[in-house]
Amino acid sequence: MIKKFNDLNYYELFKIQYNASSFEVRQAYKNILAIYEESSLATYALFAEDERKAILGKIEKAFSTLIDDEKRNAYDKSLVDIGEIPKNLLTAKERQKAIPLIQVNTAMTKDNNLARIRKKIKEQGTGKLASVMLNRDFISGQDLKNLRESLGIELEEVFEATKISPTALEAIERDDLTNLPPKIYLKSFLKSYAEVLQLDAKQLVEGYVKNMEKS
C-alpha cells in the first residue's frame, strides 16, 4: 500500500535509494519535474492550482536538501530519529560515498577517466561484439556486463563517468528487477551507460526494456 503523497519522505518522493549519488538526485529531480510542472501533459487537469503549487514546493525543497551534503546529512539524521530509516543504512551510505572520493579533482579525473575508457574501446574495438548485442531483440544486463568486461572496463570507471551509483549499475547488470530504479529513470541511466560504451542508446534502451518486460 502506498503512503499518502504528503507523507512521503524526500527519497520516497524521488524514488531513489538512501545512498543515491548526487547525479541520481539530479536525474530524479529532472524526471519528477517533468511529471508535475505546469506544462506537463501527464498531470493535466489532475490537480487544482494550489495542489500543484504545494507539490512543486515540496519537490523544490526535497531537491535543495538532497543536493546539499550538509542539509542532506541533517535530513538523514532526522529520518533516523523518527525511525523512517534504520541506522545501519546511514553507514551504508558512508560506504557508498567512499567511492566518489577516488576522483578528488573532479573535472580532471572525469576527463581522464573518459579518455581512458575511450582508449580501451579503441584498442579492443567494440564494433563486432556491440553490433551483435544491439542486433539482438532482447538485451540483458549480463550482455552489457560481458561487453564491458571484454573491453576491460571496470564498473567503477562507468560509475565515475556516469555518476550512476554502483548499486544501480550492479542492479542493471544483474537484471535485478526488484532493485532496478523506476522505468523512467532506468531509461536515462541506460542512455548514459550507452554513451560511455559508445553504443546506440536507443537500441540499447529498447532491447533492455523488452528483455525486462519479458521476464
Binding site: M1, I2, F5, A34, I35, S40, L41, A42, A45
Partner: protein, 307 residues
C-alpha cells in the same frame, strides 16, 4: 482461466472500438476463442470495424428474452475464433438500461464460455458504463496524447474508483456513515474518491483499510492511441507513475499505438485495417499489445514509425 477486458476511457473518438476490434482479431489469430461485446449501447458500431453489415441478432434478443443464453447471440465473424455480440438491434432507449436488466447482462457476460471476453464501452461516465467496466478482470483505458483526452481519462478513473467504493460500502451497509461526512465536505461535493477513503481511515474504521485494499486490487492498464512524435515517448509511463502515486495501485502502461491516417481510410471503406495494412507500425504496436495480454513473447521485428 477466462479473462475479461473492458476497454473504456471517458473521451469519445479516442479509438476504443478500433482497439477492441483489433485486439479481438489479433487474439483470435493467436488461436484463442474470443468474443467482442459491444456495450456502447445506443451507439454501437463494432460490426463496422469488423467489416460487417448490421448483425441480425444481438444483445436485444437476450434482453427481450427471445433467448435465454447470451452465448446464442454471439455471432461468428469472418475471422475464425472471433465472435461478436452486437447491440445495434437494441431499441433506441437501450442506453437507459433498467437495473435488473443490467445485472442480468453482467451476470451473463461473466459466464460466457470464451477464453477472452472484450467489452467495448461508450464514452462518458454514466452508471451503466462504469458498472460494465468493473466486470472486467483487467480494465484498459484508452486515451490519446492530448490534454482533453487525458483530462477525461482522469475523470473516468476517479469515477470508476468512486463507483466501486460506493457499491462496496452499500453492500457492507456503511454508506450512510460516509454520507453524513460527505455532506459536510466542501458542500457535499466529492471531488476525489480518495476523500472517501480518508474519511474511512480517519474514523479508524477497521474496514477502512479493507476498502483501500479493494481499490488496490483493481487492475488497470493504459493505452495511448494515435501516438505521434509531438509529445514525449515517456508520457504513458509518466501517467502511470502519477496514477500509482496518487490513486492507489496498480496501474500499468501497455504501450503507445502509432497514428496512421490509413486507419481512418480503412474505416471509411469498411475494411479491416489489420488485414489491409498488416506491415505498419500501428499493427505491430497492436500485435505487441495482444502478445502482452496473452503473455506471449513480443514480436521480434520492429518497423520504424512513419514520420
Amino acid at each position: 482461466m477466462k479473462r475479461i477486458y473492458s476497454i473504456g476511457g471517458g473521451k469519445g473518438g479516442s479509438g476504443k472500438s478500433f482497439i477492441a476490434a483489433s485486439l479481438g482479431i489479433l487474439l483470435a489469430k493467436q488461436g484463442k476463442k474470443v468474443v467482442l461485446v459491444d456495450l456502447d449501447l445506443g451507439a454501437s458500431n463494432l460490426h463496422t470495424l469488423l467489416g460487417q453489415r448490421i448483425p441480425q441478432r444481438g444483445l436485444d434478443a437476450f434482453i427481450d428474452k427471445t433467448t435465454n443464453s447470451l452465448e446464442d447471440v454471439a455471432l461468428s465473424t469472418t475471422i475464425p475464433n472471433l465472435y461478436l455480440i452486437s447491440s445495434t438491434k437494441c431499441s433506441l432507449e437501450i442506453a437507459n438500461l433498467f437495473y435488473a436488466q443490467k445485472l442480468k447482462v453482467i451476470n451473463a457476460i461473466q459466464n460466457l464460455p470464451f477464453a477472452y471476453v472484450l467489452l467495448d464501452l461508450g464514452p462518458g461516465i454514466n452508471f451503466n458504463t462504469l458498472d460494465f467496466f468493473l466486470i472486467a478482470t483487467e480494465g484498459l483505458f484508452v486515451a490519446t496524447p492530448e490534454p482533453t483526452a487525458i483530462e477525461n481519462t482522469f475523470v473516468f478513473i476517479k469515477s470508476i474508483y468512486l463507483r466501486k467504493l460506493k457499491l462496496a460500502l452499500k453492500e457492507a451497509n456503511m454508506w450512510h456513515i460516509c454520507q453524513e461526512e460527505v455532506a459536510q465536505l466542501s458542500k457535499g461535493a466529492l471531488k476525489s474518491p480518495l476523500d472517501l477513503i480518508n474519511i474511512l481511515v480517519g474514523r479508524n474504521l477497521e474496514n477502512g483499510t479493507v476498502f483501500k485494499d479493494l481499490l488496490s486490487g483493481l487492475k488497470f492498464s493504459l493505452i495511448l492511441n494515435k501516438f505521434r512524435g509531438q509529445v514525449t515517448e515517456d508520457l504513458g509511463e509518466q501517467l502511470v507513475e502519477v496514477c500509482n502515486r496518487h490513486l492507489y495501485p496498480s496501474f500499468d502502461f501497455l504501450g503507445n499505438i502509432s497514428y496512421d491516417s490509413r486507419v481512418y481510410e480503412s474505416i471509411l471503406a469498411r475494411n479491416i485495417f489489420i488485414r489491409k495494412y498488416p506491415y505498419t507500425k500501428t499493427v505491430s504496436d497492436l500485435q505487441n499489445m495482444a502478445r502482452r495480454l496473452t503473455g506471449e513473447k513480443q514480436q521480434p521485428i520492429q518497423i520504424k514509425a512513419l514520420k
